[in-house]
């Protein structure tokens, strides 16, 4: 082993010693999400009418390799439609423990209703709480279930542990505040 090699190695160490650390003091400081990050799903709505994009076709469930999605469709009341068209998802559930965040559901969706968003703070206690229903998934719901539970308890807004420098266009209408 030569001295040169030692010096070179030491040089690398010294360079990193003086550069800015890459670690983030999460959760005190938010994490910056990369544009292609795949986090918790969002069920989006049509921006104009506010109707759900999901038509309850179950293709996401069919595409899901982990069998994490359960959809039960129903017929729209023409007077009071939930979604555009004839059918909507009466029940839409994703088991977040089973989900592997592969994004196949998003690929399979013919209407762009289910989109993988940016949230990742899903830790919770009970198995049943990981089954996210429509009210947890629709874009009006900000934060994960435990976060919203916490917010309701404290009376403060949901605190997200990340920031989004770039929102994917598919996540139309989703606000991460």
């Amino acid at each position: 082993m030569s001295v040169m090699a030692l010096a070179k190695a030491l040089g690398i160490t010294l360079r990193h010693f003086f550069s800015r650390p890459v670690t983030v003091p999460y959760p005190d400081a938010p994490v910056a999400i990369k544009p292609r990050f795949h986090g918790r799903h969002v069920l989006t709505r049509h921006p104009d009418s506010g109707l759900e994009k999901c038509i309850g076709c179950s293709l996401c469930a069919a595409a899901c390799p982990a069998y994490a999605i359960y959809v039960e469709p129903a017929e729209n009341d023409p007077e009071n439609p939930v979604s555009i068209g004839e059918r909507y998802a009466k029940v839409y559930e994703i088991n977040m423990l089973r989900c592997i965040f592969c994004g196949n559901c998003e690929e399979a969706c013919p209407t762009g209703a289910i989109v993988l968003g940016n949230e990742f703070e899903l830790a919770d206690y009970r198995y049943a709480d990981f089954v996210y229903t429509k009210e947890d998934l629709l874009l009006d719901a900000v934060g994960s279930r435990p976060q919203r539970r916490e917010a309701a308890r404290t009376g403060k807004p949901v605190k997200l542990g990340f920031e989004v420098p770039y929102v994917r266009p598919e996540l139309e209408g989703v606000k991460y505040e």
Partner: protein
């Protein structure tokens, strides 16, 4: 038997085979839309175009040969539609040539031209022939890719114009919805109605590119309309009861048997998340082919609501939920010192053979004289010889007494085949012929082959050369008179039917080389008449088709649940009553000291009388054998929809017997089946087509006579189905049909609302005067119970109404 070559394979097929079937028989595939089993091939969709060549014969009568001495193949100048081309000796078929592929891809493109791409919302998605064929035979790579912004995208069609728009939600009835945009004009539904039930209620309207399916007969007559949803190759005709319930791949599909009538039609039960969502016909070539009745298909809505999910015990006059342990303790306490003779054991009409066996054995062991099954007729159907449904097609003349369309709907469809002179389809490697060239559009129905008599004009009357309507109660005298004529004796007069008519029937009956007699519940309720039929069958060699009102009748009778002497389902007598699957009449319940019912659903009678209710399975959820009207053993398989803890008849009976301190004859279907195997040599596992079990029986007929004026007219719909709103809406209020003269006598006016009280309960009805009935007739639909009987009745006029 022509020999021909399909691509590289030499095959031999029966005379009259279509090239399409020959291709499938050889193990090759060819796309098609307009052909369907049991419907005439029409060659309309042009999907099955293939290259066909055949040798020709020269003037000397020998094949024209090539240099090597082989028959020379002359290729047809155009591609031929395989479905309408007959396979002939020496024919050569090429299904893999480039021009064939090109043509088929072209047709796929044409089919997709105006077809909406709304597969995600279409209930047919995932089970759609157009989807499948498009992927298999559309040439996407070659024709339909385009490059846009550097990305290659797949096009389904190069058609760049606006698609044809049409009515998307056209309700044809409470059960069937039509989406005209999705229609690909295969004409299966139009042909179905004309060729199978013989009702021309659907047709194409307009022509050319504007052609659409339409009907002036909306709602479609409830009877056989549901089959069009099965055969529609796309999502144009859909089952409304299953609309948007789930996608096709999500259903749990259970192959089982319909137990609403004794035909034993094969069905698929599609369930999801513990609910029955849809029933479809399952192919059984020898019984129902690919058809089922509307009641079997759409009458399942009752199963999913208000199930009995836990034992209910009467406390302070109310039925309250209890645990199974509590129920057991309750029963033990009350059955502790009960003698066997005091016990009554009753089984529902749709009981399985295993259940029937267990009930019969238990009754024998207990020496109980009160046992039986629901809707048992006075004359046991098992005493009549049974013929296979297919044998009907070999008959030359059929005499029908009753209403097959309502009593055993699938038999009505078989009778339609018989009228057209169709023989059973040949069998191929791939099953039933898809393009059976023996079938043609608008085949004439040979009316002279059929004589029909019933207490009212049935659907079959229109197709019969000799047709009559007699006053209710005359079925017995009619059969006896006919039997007298055939035996060369003087007949007694039959009301409503002139003797000359009967003589004409007898003449045709004797002139025919082979004959069939179809008898309904009304004849089975008249023991002498039914015996006359049995004698006729023996002496004159006629096939008999009996239509008992209990689905499992033949089997239940044969395994000993037949009680000619003691009281059965209808008669009071037992002090400790156990009934499975249905509620016995009020007087039977009232006469008992303890009433234990195992039910899937509560009804008012049970609510009022039952002391203990156990949760029961419906026939969709049971496993077991049943014997259909032709003596064929068929297997019920359970759909996964029964609530936790619900019991089948064997389990419930064991529960009762154990409370008595007795050992049940069989605790489980497998055990019961082993006993049946030991005693009757029944197989432990059934082959797919079933197993014939037709023991020659001479059971004593039950005595008794109908006393009453109100005839309970059979319908294919059952009491339990009326719990479903959709069914109730479709059927409307029951009509009390009265002959005008009789109505005048009774002071009944057309359209009056009345309440009719019989021993089977009360029913609202609307009075309908019907001059086509015989005088004296008074008819009320019987949704299952008392079918074909005449009963005493009371008419109650609701407040404010006027009869």
């Amino acid at each position: 038997m022509p020999k021909l070559r399909i691509n590289d394979r030499e095959i031999e097929v029966p005379e009259g085979t279509s090239v399409l079937d020959a291709i499938f028989h050889a193990g090759y595939d060819v796309p098609y839309f307009c052909s369907e089993r049991h419907l005439s091939p029409i060659g309309a969709c042009r999907m099955c175009l293939v290259k066909v060549g055949a040798p020709r014969k020269g003037k000397d009568g020998d094949w024209i040969r090539d240099e090597e001495g082989n028959p020379r193949i002359f290729w047809f100048p155009k591609l031929m539609a395989a479905c309408t081309t007959r396979a002939t000796e020496g024919m050569v078929v090429d299904t893999l040539a480039d021009e064939v592929k090109k043509a088929q891809a072209g047709m796929v493109e044409f089919h997709l031209e105006n077809h909406p791409l709304d597969c995600p919302t279409c209930d047919k998605g995932g089970a759609c022939e157009l989807q499948d064929r498009s992927y298999e035979y559309g040439l996407f790579e070659k024709y339909y890719t385009q490059t846009q912004n550097g990305l290659k995208t797949v096009l389904y069609s190069r058609f760049a114009f606006t698609k044809r728009h049409a009515d998307k939600h056209h309700k044809l009835s409470e059960f069937v919805v039509l989406d005209r945009e999705r229609c690909i004009h295969c004409k299966r539904c139009v042909r179905y109605f004309e060729e199978i039930p013989g009702e021309e209620v659907l047709d194409f309207i307009e022509r050319g590119n504007h052609t659409f399916i339409g009907s002036e007969e909306v709602p479609l007559p409830a009877g056989f309309s549901g089959n069009i949803t099965d055969i529609c190759p796309v999502g144009a005709l859909l089952d409304l009861t299953a609309r948007f319930r789930a996608r096709n791949w999500e259903f749990e599909k259970t192959p089982t048997v319909d137990m609403n009538d004794a035909f034993g039609a094969a069905i698929w039960v599609d369930s999801r998340s513990g609910r029955i969502e849809r029933i479809r016909a399952r192919e059984h070539p020898e019984t129902n082919e690919i058809w089922i009745a509307d009641a079997a298909r759409f009458g399942h809505g009752w199963t999913v609501r208000d199930r009995v999910t836990a034992p209910l015990i009467r406390k302070d006059g109310e039925l309250v939920p209890a645990s199974l342990a509590e129920a057991e303790a309750y029963l033990r306490e009350r059955l502790a010192r009960v003698r066997g003779e005091e016990v009554g054991l009753l089984l529902a009409a749709d009981g399985t053979l295993e259940e029937g066996y267990a009930f019969a054995e238990a009754a024998r062991a207990l020496k109980a004289d009160h046992f039986g099954f629901e809707n048992a007729t006075r004359f046991p159907a098992a005493n009549l010889p049974a013929a296979r449904f297919e044998e009907l097609l070999s008959a030359e003349f059929a005499l029908v007494i009753g209403d097959p369309a309502e009593e055993m709907p699938n038999l009505y469809l078989r009778l339609q085949e018989f009228l057209k002179g169709i023989t059973p389809a040949p069998r191929y490697y791939h099953g039933t012929p898809i393009a059976d060239l023996r079938l043609e559009e608008r085949m004439p129905r040979r009316k002279e082959r059929l004589a029909v008599f019933a207490a009212y004009p049935t659907r079959l009357h229109r197709f019969a050369g000799i047709a009559g309507v007699y006053p209710p109660g005359s079925a017995g005298p009619l059969v006896e008179a006919l039997s007298a004529i055939l035996n060369g004796k003087r007949p007694e007069p039959v009301p409503g039917v002139p003797e000359a008519e009967l003589r004409r029937v007898a003449e045709r009956f004797l002139a025919a080389g082979s004959r069939a007699i179809v008898v309904g519940a009304e004849v089975l309720e008249a023991p002498e008449a039914a015996q006359a039929v049995a004698d006729l069958a023996r002496s004159k060699g006629a096939l008999v088709f009996a239509m008992p009102p209990a689905a499992g009748a033949r089997g239940l009778e044969a395994v000993g649940l037949w009680n000619p002497r003691g009281p059965g389902w209808e008669e009071p007598g037992a002090r400790f009553l156990f009934a499975f699957g249905a509620t016995p009449p009020a007087e039977v319940l009232a006469s008992a000291r303890l009433r234990v019912l195992a039910l899937s659903h509560l009804d008012p009678q049970a609510r009022a009388h039952a002391d203990l209710v156990l949760p029961a399975k419906t026939f969709y959820e049971k496993r077991g054998y049943t014997v259909n009207a032709e003596g064929r053993l068929l297997e019920l398989r359970p759909a996964p929809t029964a609530p936790m803890g619900s019991m089948d008849g064997l389990e419930a009976l064991a529960f009762w017997l154990r409370a008595m301190g007795k050992k049940p004859p069989a605790a489980h279907y497998r055990e019961a089946r082993e006993r049946l195997h030991e005693r009757y040599r029944l197989p432990l596992d059934l082959p797919e087509e079933g197993f014939f079990w037709r023991p020659k029986l001479r059971l004593a007929a039950r005595t008794g006579k109908d006393e009453g004026e109100l005839f309970l007219q059979p319908t294919m719909w059952k009491e339990r189905m009326l719990r479903d709103d959709r069914v109730r809406t479709a059927l409307g209020a029951p009509r009390l049909r009265v002959h005008p003269a009789t109505a005048k006598k009774l002071g009944l006016a057309q359209g009056a609302r009345v309440e009719v009280a019989t021993r089977y309960g009360r029913r609202d009805a609307t009075v309908a005067l019907d001059p086509s009935l015989a005088e004296g007739a008074l008819l009320l639909p019987a949704y299952g119970r008392g079918t074909g009987r005449r009963v005493p009745y009371r008419l109650l006029v609701p407040a404010g109404g006027e009869a």
